[in-house]
């Protein structure tokens, strides 16, 4: 009498459904998310109940790090090049086309103008290692040493429709914020956005 053979179940699982799910999620993420830009410094913003979203285009971001360093960036690569051309002309510095291109790829930076050229000529890997000292500002907002003023001025010259967003870190001290504020006010900029995280308003609160 031959031994009874047990029918073995197939060890393969149908993966089709799982593939469907995986690609559905993938499609969702591609459509909803936007790429994270490489920032000069990590800034943790405070949160607010404000529901106004930061505009996508035509935006100038002034970052304020926790150590009080000021970073600056504008959104469009084309604008960045014309901004750099403007400021180079004003300061009497020349940039090679290569350095210009390098600059147009940086979403924001925190360097004094006289260090910018040497930074741009560094290879990519070394750029990431450089500790950016921040853009010089001062409390009066109009002194010749205040370089943030020049950047803001030349950025607006490159694109007049730029809106200004201020991105401050939780731990940044108020006097440092005041320096940035004074710089903007000295140029008669009195309206800007503060970038914040989103938090839920208290129960029962309704927007007007």
């Amino acid at each position: 009498m031959p031994a009874v053979k047990i029918k073995r179940a197939s060890s393969s699982v149908d993966m089709t459904a799982m593939t469907d799910v995986a690609f559905l999620l993938l499609t969702f993420f591609i459509l909803t998310a936007q790429f994270r830009s490489q920032d000069a410094a990590a800034i943790e913003t405070p949160s607010s109940i404000s529901g106004i979203k930061v505009p996508d285009r035509d935006i100038m971001t002034i970052g304020l790090g926790r150590d009080g360093k000021v970073y600056f960036g504008i959104d469009n690569a084309q604008n960045r090049i014309s901004m750099l051309e403007n400021i180079a002309a004003a300061k009497g510095i020349t940039f090679t086309p290569n350095e210009m291109k390098e600059f147009s790829l940086m979403s924001n930076f925190g360097l004094p103008i006289n260090q910018l050229k040497s930074y741009l000529s560094l290879p990519k890997e070394q750029q990431g290692k450089v500790k950016q000292p921040g853009i010089p500002t001062d409390s009066t907002g109009a002194a010749p040493t205040n370089e943030l003023k020049d950047w803001v001025f030349n950025a607006r010259k490159a694109n007049n429709g730029l809106r200004i967003a201020l991105k401050g870190d939780n731990l940044a001290k108020f006097p440092e914020f005041k320096n940035v504020l004074a710089t903007l006010q000295a140029q008669n900029i009195n309206k800007f956005n503060l970038i914040t995280g989103t938090e839920a308003p208290p129960a029962g609160w309704k927007a007007d």
Binding site: S11, S12, L26, A33, F174
Partner: protein
């Protein structure tokens, strides 16, 4: 996972006909799943999902000097943003009239204090003056401005200069070196 092909097979059986081997119709999807999840992981890590929100801040024009009617001290709540996430406020009296300095934390406590004082004065006349000191942080300022939005107070001002009276008051009452 390797698939074990149990059925089929076109081997020559004893006396049977020679049949062509039928290819299995099932395709192994495992590598495709792997690829899918790899891409998902990449997108999750490389992108940001939520866009940050922003609050608008309008500051008065410094170049124009507008004549304004002086506001009565009895309607004013002056908030000093101190160190270690504490706020101090005086209400109803000017700094040189020896007012009571109260200490509040940000958030709920501060909101309650605001609402109490609004009731005493009435919404229309109530003015909040926010004075951040040198030791306060940017977060403190945003928190207070946010409370203004929550309590829907429209009349507030952000003033970055402290008067000598106020400095003395803070030093005497709460040992804050403004």
């Amino acid at each position: 996972m390797a698939e074990i092909n149990t059925g089929g097979g076109g081997g020559k059986h004893d006396g049977g006909k020679v049949r062509s081997k039928k290819a299995s119709t099932r395709v192994d999807m495992t590598p495709m799943v792997d690829l899918g999840f790899l891409l998902i992981t990449f997108f999750i890590l490389a992108t940001t999902l939520s866009k940050p929100s922003s609050m608008t801040l309008n500051v008065p024009d410094k170049t124009k000097q507008e004549e304004t009617e002086p506001i009565k001290a009895s309607n004013v709540m002056t908030v000093f943003l101190g160190k270690d996430n504490k706020a101090y406020y005086i209400f109803g009296k000017a700094a040189n009239e020896d007012p009571e300095v109260k200490t509040v934390g940000y958030g709920y406590e501060f909101r309650q204090a605001l609402q109490e004082n609004v009731k005493k004065v009435g919404g229309e006349k109530f003015v909040v003056v926010i004075k951040p000191t040198k030791q306060s942080t940017y977060k403190n300022m945003v928190d207070v401005l946010d409370e203004m939005a929550i309590t829907k107070l429209k009349r507030y001002a952000l003033v970055d200069q402290l008067t000598p009276d106020e400095k003395k008051l803070l030093k005497d009452k709460v040992k804050l070196d403004a």
